[in-house]
């Protein structure tokens, strides 16, 4: 698929409308790569002039910061900011709420000031501008529940954008008992993704999967590659793979639009 890089753009003397920040998960994790590709398909369908940093992109430092390594975080942040400012980036979109939060909130005081969007916000804008339409026939009638990623929801109070998109799919959106500001974490945040959990009587992702299964869904939708991993593992643990799929909102849109 055609994914132009900033370096190529610059060589042609072009400045894209928006930079797609792919993030480490979206670049390397096999499951999350599908989300990146689904989003690119949507960008193409809406004729969005975008680019990625490609091999010039590096970790935002979010995981390092949450693990307590402020030094490593700021090193990563400053390297990224140097590259982003070098390309005179103004607008960034990402499918990763952790990158979204870090670039939006933690980069400005280090010299990186950009308009930052979560992909669900960005797609919502595309629809509002009439550049994209969501087909509501393909997934019609499916039972969907939405798991709020902590770094999108509580951390930045973005609760409505993903829900608005889901409703446009013509599906039946059912909320879990803990949702929006009271949503339970999937268990991956704060660098937990990269380590085993401390001793306890249950895994957080299993508890959250139980929340989701109570709504008897066909689809668990979310907006974060790490949540996808945790919820998918939870579904496997509960042996519900045959009945329930875990999808990013953008994958559902791509599916609905037959992309």
């Amino acid at each position: 698929m055609n994914v132009p890089t900033m370096a190529e753009m610059m060589a042609q003397g072009k400045q894209p409308e928006v930079l797609f920040w792919v993030g480490a998960a979206g670049s390397y994790d096999d499951r999350a790569k599908k989300i990146s590709r689904a989003f690119v398909k949507i960008l193409h369908q809406a004729n969005v002039d975008f680019a990625v940093l490609g091999t010039e992109e590096t970790s935002t430092g979010d995981a390092a910061k949450r693990a307590g390594n402020e030094f490593l975080f700021q090193m990563q942040a400053m390297m990224n900011i140097e590259v982003l400012n070098g390309y005179e980036i103004k607008k960034i979109v990402t499918c990763d709420p952790h990158s979204f939060n870090t670039i939006k909130n933690e980069y400005p005081s280090l010299g990186g000031k950009y308009e930052v969007y979560h992909h669900t916000q960005f797609i919502q804008d595309l629809i509002k501008q009439g550049r994209l339409k969501i087909e509501d026939a393909t997934l019609k009638g499916k039972r969907v529940t939405f798991h709020d990623p902590c770094y999108l929801g509580r951390a930045n109070e973005v609760y409505e954008s993903p829900r608005d998109l889901i409703r446009r799919l013509g599906v039946n959106l059912t909320e879990m008992k803990r949702h929006k500001s009271t949503a339970l974490c999937c268990g991956a945040g704060g660098a937990q993704m990269f380590k085993d959990a401390e001793p306890g009587d249950k895994e957080v992702n299993v508890l959250r999967t139980e929340d989701a299964l109570e709504t008897n869904p066909n689809i668990i939708a979310t907006g974060c590659p790490y949540c996808i991993t945790m919820m998918t593992d939870g579904i496997k643990f509960k042996e519900k793979e045959a009945e329930v799929v875990v999808k990013d909102v953008v994958e559902l849109i791509a599916e609905a639009n037959n992309l």
Binding site: G54, G68, V204
Partner: protein, 438 residues
């Protein structure tokens, strides 16, 4: 001799308030042990938060039952305190129900009648609170950190309120002229009949005794605050005022590190540069927090404000899945340690003498800190905007940057970030491969 009660009253009042002020000064001094942080911006938003969250209890009522009961006790407490003003004036000048003469019978009747109804409601609410804490199996009141003193403390407060409300009603019930007037006694008139067979002298004695124990009880309760979790009735106001206004996901960037990183990345920096003449070489800053003095004064204020309700812990994903972490315990530990440091300063003539202890390890274990998912559920839940997560993060920073004591897997993750720009061991050059696959 006729002024003896007045004099006794004034002495008691001054002693009671004086002792309280002395202790409040200690709290203020202890909070100031914290590091500086600017929370004096956006004054209008801060006032609004205080009005909504502390005064208006907007976050309390997110849990309807306990929120509703709390509003009753809170409103009752604030409004009944108008009566305390009358009691104080009566006590000082030897008057009796001085407001009645000033504001007139009907308004006075309305006022005292309202107080009586509120007192009855508070009494009922407090009974339900007691039942919730002691009989109903509500998980957040049964946690490990709530055993012993915290549990007793919670109950003592409820007993105090029960006794004070009872005394207020009894005091009115045994005030014969007040009962004979028959106004403003919607509750106490029923209690008054209990004393029907008593001589007027006995009834008057009970009235005086209730009056005295009531005001003494209030002074004791006031001074109990300092030793108790109940300080929130005062500190909830500054705490909500000074709370974080930024997005919850935004963690602070340590400035000392920014300077070092900038220096490292500056190609023109002279690695052998000497500090400029006249500028004292700064003591290398400690990264993160291992003890209370490494935290900010807002975090310390948070610790004193916490009333151990446990809503944070009941929403914490780590705690819900049986891990050792409890955000409430983080706050309780911080306060306990801060009080220990405060006592140390008192005992050593204003200087802290190293006691070989610190917040980390002696109170909070790394296991608790590493169980946090940084999900902000605890911060969101707190009815008075306490931020346990910021303390957890500052302590992680100390563990990682001062002690290199991260869990092994996290060290591997960080090494990967350092070497190949991703938390996993992938080649930086493969970063765009996802676009070529399908």
């Amino acid at each position: 001799m006729q002024y003896l009660p007045n004099i006794l009253f004034i002495i008691t009042l001054i002693a009671g308030i004086g002792f309280f002020v002395m202790n409040i000064r200690k709290i203020s001094r202890n909070i100031k042990l914290g590091k500086d942080i600017d929370r004096f911006d956006n004054k209008s938003e801060r006032w609004r938060n205080m009005a909504m969250i502390a005064l208006g209890q907007s976050k309390m009522v997110k849990r309807p039952l306990s929120g509703f009961l709390h509003v009753i006790v809170y409103v009752g407490f604030v409004i009944i305190n108008i009566e305390v003003l009358e009691i104080v004036i009566d006590g000082v000048f030897g008057t009796h129900r001085i407001f009645q003469g000033i504001i007139g019978d009907s308004f006075y009747a309305f006022l005292i009648g309202t107080f009586e109804i509120l007192a009855a409601l508070v009494f009922a609410a407090v009974i339900i609170f007691w039942t919730r804490r002691n009989v109903a199996n509500i998980k957040r009141f049964l946690s490990k950190e709530m055993q012993g003193w915290p549990k007793r403390d919670g109950n003592y407060i409820l007993y105090f309120e029960m006794v004070l409300m009872t005394l207020f009603i009894v005091m009115n019930a045994t005030d014969s002229p007040f009962q004979e007037a028959g106004i403003g006694n919607p509750i106490s008139q029923f209690v008054a009949s209990l004393f029907d067979g008593f001589s007027s002298g006995t009834v008057h004695f009970i009235e005086r005794t209730s009056w005295w124990i009531h005001i003494l009880g209030i002074l004791v309760f006031l001074n109990y605050l300092y030793y108790s979790k109940h300080l929130h009735i005062l500190l909830a106001f500054p705490n909500t005022y000074f709370a974080n206004l930024k997005p919850k996901g935004q963690f602070n960037n340590l400035e000392a590190i920014t300077n070092e990183v900038k220096l490292m990345m500056d190609p023109d920096a002279d690695p052998y540069a000497m500090p400029e003449e006249g500028i004292e070489e700064a003591v290398p800053e400690k990264f993160g927090a291992s003890d209370v003095a490494d935290l900010s004064w807002v975090q310390l204020l948070n610790a004193y404000t916490c009333t151990e309700c446990g809503r944070c812990t009941s929403a914490c994903p780590a705690n819900l899945t049986g891990k050792k972490l409890s955000p409430r315990k983080i706050m309780m530990d911080t306060r306990d340690r801060l009080e220990e440091v405060g006592r140390n300063i008192d005992e050593n003539k204003g200087e802290f003498k190293d006691d070989g202890k610190q917040l980390l390890n002696d109170y909070i274990s790394p296991e608790e800190l590493w169980a946090c998912t940084s999900c902000n559920a605890c911060v969101e839940e707190c009815p008075v905007n306490i931020d346990p997560l910021s303390i957890i993060m500052d302590m992680r920073r100390y563990l990682v940057m001062e002690q290199s004591a991260a869990p092994q897997e996290l060290n591997m993750m960080m090494t990967n970030v350092e070497n190949n720009g991703a938390p996993w061991q992938y080649n930086q050059q493969d970063r765009l491969n996802w676009a070529k696959e399908e």
